[in-house]
Symmetry: C2
Subunit: 234 residues, 2 copies
């Protein structure tokens, strides 16, 4: 970790994914990479990040992927996706305290599944702040804002580039502009649509969709997602 | 209220809707009526139930609609839909204690919106038992089972018979057979699909979708609903 002043990376709108060697993070990496967005994959172990970047580059030969340690990766982009298990969310954000800089936007995908404490993945933990996203907002440095997203899309579908996605991503956050940026980013992934699901406090509801869908997955042997009906078609 | 032994109504599989003069209950009544199912509309005020039944009959001339007080209505069918505001759920179930009989199935549509205590309709109350549906299960007489459903479909869309429905209804309950009965019933309404969302305890998640959708409705001036993607098409 270094204490340099954050300077935007030179390429147009790159994205960093903390926990990008995990299934969800990797799936987002290859989908964003295929959409022409340079992706920096972060991992606690830089070697694993490099390995994931190599895998992503093999899957998307015209994509741009870099592997770095989490802190170095977080310094690379103005939008930083946080894709780690709930068990590691707090520790990861503590480790990024001196890296994240005012103006950066953290897109938190964390879901407080009871599996984090050896409970069921179909149950959710109560988080003191209301949701994992609100915990993240409390932990990031002043001036860094948090939006939550990517709770309901199956990692397996993201990572399988032959799979035609067709579902919605619910986006929570306290600033409309932040949500608009994330919804625009989501729209660059073919088959995904971002939907403004309200303020960050609504993330407690959106996060709870993950255990609901995990239960449906088990019963139906599928990878379920969700769509909001009744919206004007984009 | 009377203490007669419950005997199944003579017609094939009628449905009773407690709170059937409200927007959601009425919407369900006309949709079920149009599907050829005899509907008994219950209301605290029998005169309002009769008026709602007359309105429903005008909207669906070949349907069968009866209006009764809640307790009389609850005695008419083996499946009783409970469609009342959370504020009235407990009182309503107390009033049905001597009417509901073992073997009856209560389909609870109650959502504990904070609006019940003059809070926001985009927020949900914590219910001691876990969810409104679990509160209902605690309150019904021994041998009566509760399934929850109909939380996410807009009353306005149900009540507008020109509106082509196209969405899912998540169904929670502890017995597969009970859920199968309710999913079959839902399937009789054109454009609705019932999806098994797990045990009754999962209702706390499904109930929370209502405030989420209410927020989306406000922002998008629509009546949103939900669909689960990735399921084998029925």
């Amino acid at each position: 970790m270094d204490d340099e002043i954050y300077t935007p990376a030179p390429m147009a709108d790159p994205i960093s994914i903390i926990g990008g060697s995990g299934a969800l993070g990797y799936g987002l990496a290859v989908r964003l990479g295929r959409a022409g967005i340079p992706v920096t994959i972060g991992s606690r172990d830089a070697a694993r990040a490099v390995e994931a970047a190599e895998r992503a580059a093999a899957a998307v030969p015209d994509g741009s992927f870099t592997g770095l340690g989490n802190a170095e990766a977080a310094a690379e982009s103005s939008i930083v996706i946080l894709s780690v298990p709930f068990r590691n969310q707090s520790e990861t954000l503590t480790n990024l305290k001196t890296t994240l800089q005012p103006g950066q936007l953290v897109v938190d995908a964390t879901v407080p599944l009871a599996a984090a404490v050896s409970g069921k993945a179909t149950r959710i933990l109560g988080v003191w702040q209301g949701s994992a996203a609100q915990q993240a907002q409390e932990m990031v440095p002043e001036g860094v804002r948090v939006v939550s997203a990517f709770h309901t899309v199956a990692a397996a579908h993201l990572g399988d580039l032959d799979w035609q996605l067709d579902e919605d991503i619910l986006v929570c956050g306290d600033k409309k502009d932040d949500k608009a940026r994330v919804i625009e980013l989501i729209g660059k992934i073919d088959g995904l649509r971002g939907v403004d699901a309200g303020k960050l406090e609504m993330s407690r509801i959106v996060e709870s969709l993950t255990p609901l869908l995990i239960g449906i997955n088990v019963r139906h042997k599928t990878h379920a997602g969700i769509k909001i009906t009744g919206l004007p078609s984009a």
